[in-house]
Symmetry: C2
Subunit: 419 residues, 2 copies
C-alpha cells in the first residue's frame, strides 16, 4: 500500500501515461464480451439500471436491440420481452463503453482497442452517424437497416483493413495530432475521424470486398464526422482501466450516466459505484426542439472527461464552444483553466496549441472536486426524452457533487480501516 | 473608373469575396495551358527569368523536366538543352502557379480549379510529397519514377473521381473547415489534405482503375500531408485573378519569387511586375543542414499570403509557428495582428477560432505596406541552393519593400495621367 494518497495517485497517473491503446480489430460483441453470449443479455450505459427505471432513449435502444437480435418481431413484443426476459448489465463492468443509451448486443460489432503496454482491452460499439440512430433512442426502419449493414459490411471490411497493419492503429499518436486540429474528442472528432479514415482508406481499397461494399464503407466514413467518438471512448476506457488496476488513490477512473443516476468509480475503491441523480444538459437545440424535450444526462461518453479531454479540453476546440452554447474563445479558455483546478496533472502527449502547448488535463482527483466544489464540465449530445425520436441538441452538463462527496467519505473509511 | 482608390479596392475585394473556386479535374498541363503546346516550353515560378540567372533548385527542376519530357537523355544533355532550346515563361502569365521552382511541362498533370462565379480557371501542378522532389530541385531516379506514376496513375484516377461529382469540390467550404483545424495553407495543410482525401476516397474506390492503382493513389494521399498546398495555391490564384480583373486600385493580386527577384502585381497596374532582389528565408533546418545551405526565396506559393492566408494566418496554425521557428502561440498572434495593419479587410468565409473567430486577412494594400513599412510575413519551405538536393528546412521570409514602393509610384503616375 502506498504511504499517501498522493503517492497512490502518482502511480495511477504513471499507469495512465504508460498505456498505449491501439485499434486492432472490429468484431461481433458476442465474440469478445463473454456476458453477451449468455442469452438475452444487453449492455447499457451508466451504473446498473433495470428496464422500468430507464429513460426514453435507453428504452428505445433496448427495443431496437430486441428487434435487431430477432428476439421480438414487433415493438409491442419487444416491450414485453425487454421487461421480462432481458438481463441488463453495465458496459463498464465488461471492459466496454457505449455512447448515450450504450445498448450493445451480441451481434453488434465493437471496436477492439488493445493496450500495447499493460495488455488490457476495451470495447465500444460503432458510431452510426447522425439523425435517427439507436444510441439516441430511435429504433425502427432505417435504424435497423443501418445496424444490419454495419454488422454485415462495415465491420468485416474495417476488420480486414485493420488486420493488414502489423499492430493496428496507434491511437495515442493519432489523438496527439487531432487535438492540434481542434478536436476535444467528445463533441468534436472531425479531425480524428478524417485521420482515421486516411489511415484506413488505402487498406480498404486493397481489400477483397466487392467494389460496391468498399465504396459504401468509405462513403459512410466520409459522412460520419463523429465516427472517432466511439474510438476515443474505447481509448479512454482502456487507459483508465489501466490506471484503475493500481487499486489505490483518489483518481476518478470512470464517470458515467444511465439517464437516472450519475455514477463514478475511483481507483482506490474497486468496482463500487458512487451515484446520485443526474442533471439535465443545457445547450443548443435543433430546429423544432427545446430544453423541455431534453432527456436527463445519459451515456458512457463521459469517459472522455474522466481521462481529461471532452469538456476539460474545451480550449482545444473553440469551435465546439459555440456548438454547445458556451460562448467563444475566452469562454473555452475559462472552462479549461477551471478544470485545471480539479485535475492534478497534465497530459504531456496531448499538447494543446491554443493553450500555448500546455497538455490536456489528467488525473481527476475526488479530493480536489470536493474541496473546490468544482465539478467536471461534460460536453454532451442531448437525446429526446421519448423513445424513437433521437438527438435533439448538444450542450454541457455537470455531475452531481454528491457522487464525489460519497467517494471521498468511502476513501477516508478505507484508509482509516487500513491504518 | 472609380472615383477613389478605396472604391476601386472595395470592388476588387468584392470580386475576391464573390469567387467560388471548385476543384473540377486533374489534366495534363499541355491539354489546358496553350503555351505548353508550343514545343520546348517550361513554366516557372516568379517573375520572368532566364536559364543563366536561375538558382540551383529551379535549375535542377528544369533538368528534371527535360528528362521527363524526353527532350534529353542525360543530365549533361539536359543542361545544354535547357540553355539553348527551352523557352521559359512564368506560371503566373498562364493562369497557373507552382511551388518552389514551379517548373511545369506539358506532360505533367495539373489541378484544374474553376471559379463557379466569375468563370476563370487556375492551374497548379500536383504535390509530390516530401524528400527528394522536383520542386525543391531534385531531379533524378525516384523523382522521375514518381513523376511518371503521377502522370500515368495518380492523375487519371483523381480525374475520374472528381468527374463523378456534379461540380467538383467546393474549395471555399473545405478551406473554411480546415482553417478551424489548424491549417494556414502554406506550411500546414494536414487538415485540408485529410478532408480532400475524405471527399475523394469513396469515389476512388468506386472507380474503374485496378485495385493496385486505387490502393497506390490512396496510399500516396495518406502520406502526402502537403497535398493540399498546391490545391490551395490554385484556389488563391483563381480568386486573386478574379479580383485582378477589376483593373483598378492598390490591392496586391500576386506576390511571387524566382530565386532572384521578388515580383508583385497590383490590381490597378495590369500585368506589370514590380521587382526587387529576394531575401533569404530564416528558419529551422533539417539535421545536417544550416542557414548557409538555404537558397534565396523562391516559388509561387506566396500567392497564399497574397490572398491573406499562410503567414498572415499564422494565428490559425500555432503548430506551424514552431515548425518555422517563430515561437509559440503569442508569437503567432503577434504576427497575425501585425498583418492586420496592411490588409484592409477580413475574410468572412475563413473564420479563425483561435483569433476569436475573426476572419483571415483580406486585401493586401500597397499603400498600407509603404506607409507602415510592414511587409507581409511569408511562411515557406527552404530549398538547398544547389540543384539535386531538395528541401532542407522551413521558415519565414519577407518581400523587399522596394516592390511596393515602385508599385505605389506607378499607381500615383497612373492616376495622375488619368486625372
Amino acid at each position: 500500500m502506498y504511504a499517501t494518497i498522493n503517492e497512490a495517485n502518482a502511480a495511477v497517473i504513471a499507469e495512465i501515461r504508460r498505456a498505449r491503446p491501439r485499434l486492432v480489430d472490429v468484431r461481433p460483441a458476442g465474440a469478445c464480451i463473454p456476458v453477451l453470449a449468455e442469452g438475452a443479455v444487453l449492455m447499457h450505459a451508466g451504473p446498473p439500471i433495470e428496464w422500468d427505471a430507464m429513460t426514453g432513449p435507453m428504452k428505445g435502444a433496448v427495443l431496437g436491440a430486441c428487434l435487431f437480435e430477432g428476439w421480438s418481431k414487433t415493438t409491442e413484443e419487444a416491450e414485453v420481452f425487454a421487461a421480462t426476459n432481458v438481463r441488463f448489465v453495465p458496459c463498464h463492468d465488461n471492459s466496454a463503453v457505449g455512447p448515450m443509451g450504450g445498448i450493445t448486443s451480441a451481434n453488434m460489432p465493437v471496436l477492439v482497442v488493445k493496450n500495447a503496454e499493460q495488455g488490457n482491452v476495451a470495447y465500444c460499439n460503432l458510431n452510426e452517424g447522425i439523425g435517427k440512430v439507436m444510441r439516441f433512442g430511435a429504433f425502427e426502419g432505417e435504424v435497423q437497416t443501418r445496424l444490419a449493414w454495419m454488422r454485415d459490411v462495415l465491420a468485416p471490411v474495417l476488420s480486414a483493413a485493420l488486420k493488414t497493419k502489423s499492430d493496428g492503429i496507434d491511437l495515442t499518436a493519432l489523438m496527439a495530432q487531432a487535438i492540434t486540429m481542434g478536436d476535444e474528442f467528445h463533441q468534436r472528432n472531425i479531425a480524428a475521424s478524417a485521420l482515421l479514415m486516411k489511415a484506413l482508406a488505402a487498406d480498404v481499397a486493397a481489400g477483397d470486398a466487392s467494389r460496391e461494399d468498399k465504396e459504401a464503407v468509405l462513403r459512410f466514413l466520409e459522412r460520419t464526422d463523429q465516427f472517432f467518438l466511439n474510438v476515443a471512448m474505447a481509448h479512454c476506457k482502456c487507459v483508465m482501466d489501466a490506471g484503475h488496476a493500481v487499486g489505490e488513490g483518489s483518481i476518478v477512473t470512470a464517470m458515467t450516466r444511465n439517464g437516472r443516476d450519475f455514477g463514478i468509480r475511483v481507483a482506490g475503491l474497486g468496482d463500487r459505484w458512487f451515484t446520485a441523480p443526474v442533471n439535465t444538459p443545457v445547450g443548443l437545440f435543433f430546429t423544432g426542439y427545446s430544453q423541455a424535450d431534453a432527456n436527463p444526462d445519459i451515456g458512457d461518453s463521459a469517459i472522455t472527461e474522466t481521462f481529461g479531454i471532452g469538456g476539460a479540453a474545451m480550449i482545444a476546440a473553440p469551435g465546439v464552444t459555440r456548438f454547445v452554447g458556451s460562448g467563444g474563445f475566452s469562454d473555452a479558455l475559462e472552462i479549461s483553466e477551471q478544470m485545471r483546478e480539479i485535475y492534478v496533472e497534465t497530459n504531456t502527449t496531448l499538447q494543446i496549441p491554443t493553450w500555448d502547448f500546455q497538455g490536456a488535463c489528467l488525473g481527476l482527483d475526488v479530493r480536489r472536486v470536493v474541496e473546490t466544489g468544482i465539478t467536471p464540465v461534460i460536453n454532451t449530445g442531448i437525446a429526446h426524452r421519448l423513445p424513437g425520436v433521437g438527438q435533439v441538441g448538444a450542450g454541457t452538463v455537470r455531475p452531481p457533487l454528491a457522487c464525489f462527496e460519497q467517494a471521498l467519505e468511502a476513501l477516508a473509511a478505507t484508509r482509516a480501516a487500513a491504518a
